[in-house]
Symmetry: C2
Subunit: 227 residues, 2 copies
DNA sequence: ATGTAAATTATAGTATTACTATAAATAATC
DNA sequence: GATTATTTATAGTAATACTATAATTTACAT
């Protein structure tokens, strides 16, 4: 029996739980590949259906529209990353050590061999980095928020915020620093790939330099806010 | 004779220079109001045309599509902000003082009485904050970049990066810190408005707190990277 | 095994969107 | 005042984002 990763998702994100059926899983798997390949704007349910060997109407039975599907995938991603971060920092004693590990995990590309589910996490990571912001940059962000679509992201942000507070009890902006850190990790990667003059990283992967920048940023701020 | 603000824009952004005709200016003015009102997803050239009292085809004579129009508006905005920042920091002696002024300008809402053009800068500022990222979060970001669509943003980023370098010659990440600062200023405002638990700001405008957070961030990093 | 209900998928359609082609009107210039 | 260039209007098309309903498959109780 194969190990399957399963996260219970907010039921308002879907019409029909895609994790429950083979067709649903195929929709998730293929939509990740297709959104990654052609981008959210070009992505349609018809193209997805053809790629997945099902009909358009079938996709509509699972997801109201492509934005909901994106929100689902993004929520799944943050849930997964949070789970991984919690797992990999749990045994560390010092909050500074935890923070260092988190920065490394935020800034590093996802390795393929970690895929133990029907989701290609490496590709999904790239989708989140390149278009994840579109999940909330909408006019209906308030409504979506009231339905708790962003809960996984918020929980990760709080998790990291608490570690920041452990490092510097009394620091006034743990959540703002946490959300800034997460955004900067993904943003700097995007900029380095596509608009490199907005960064100071040399050609190549740049992962190490990005980690150094983020460490310098976070620990610089913390050093300036001594206990 | 009325004072009119005019920036020469990258000619690849439009098919027909909207700043040259009354109809063109009307398109800019009304598109800002409409995108702000209904969001980029719901925004169509037909709706814009009806609102502006012209036909859809007329809009297409000026802009290839709505994404180009957004790119134009966003580029205009960064050009305008850069001009304002250069103007308001030029007479300041100390780089730290300049940086403080820049942070204030990035984090503060735009006041209405500054509108001396056919563009409503206050509304445009909100568009850039809420959906400006969509201008580059696309599959064709590389192509757009090669056509220099993002030059105004890059130039602002370099301008601020140079001031950071004046504060700390030898600091390794002036551009990354600059782009992170700009993004964080807008992002924290968006979060504060729509996903407040990702920040630590109290209800109300939060402008002062956002400025304090950003100052603490930037000057904390700089303090940790002593000359 | 078989009948019935429930779940799932397929087919067919509609209004809107994102354009293009071309005709008509207006303005600019000599 | 005629010619040319510019601008706008009209009319269309293929694709998109859905909805309604019919057909099929699956589930499972007897």
């Amino acid at each position: 029996m194969e190990l399957q990763l399963y996260f219970r998702m907010n039921s308002h994100l879907y019409l029909h739980d895609p994790q429950e059926t083979a067709t649903g899983k195929k929709i998730l798997k293929e939509s990740i590949l297709l959104i990654h390949k052609i981008g959210l704007e070009e992505f349609t349910f018809l193209k997805l259906a053809k790629k997945a060997g099902i009909t358009e109407a079938t996709v509509y039975r699972y997801f109201e529209n492509k934005h909901r599907l994106l929100s689902y995938l993004v929520a799944w991603y943050w849930t997964w990353l949070h789970w991984r971060i919690a797992r990999d920092t749990g045994m560390l004693a010092e909050p500074e050590e935890k923070l260092r590990r988190i920065i490394r995990m935020l800034a590093s590309p996802v390795r393929d061999d970690l895929s133990i589910s029907f989701v290609n996490e490496r590709i999904l990571h790239e989708i989140v980095a390149e278009q994840g912001a579109k999940a909330y940059l909408t006019k209906h962000v308030g409504k979506d928020n009231r339905m708790n679509f962003f809960k996984p992201y918020k929980e990760l942000c709080h998790f990291i915020g608490n570690i920041i507070l452990e490092c510097r009890p009394g620091y006034a902006y743990p959540h703002s620093l946490s959300s800034t850190l997460i955004e900067a990790a993904y943003m700097q990667k995007f900029y380095h790939n596509h608009l490199p003059s907005l960064t100071d990283f040399s050609e190549g992967s740049g992962t190490k330099e990005r980690i150094l920048f983020l460490e310098n940023l976070v620990f610089g701020v913390l050093a300036a806010n001594q206990k």
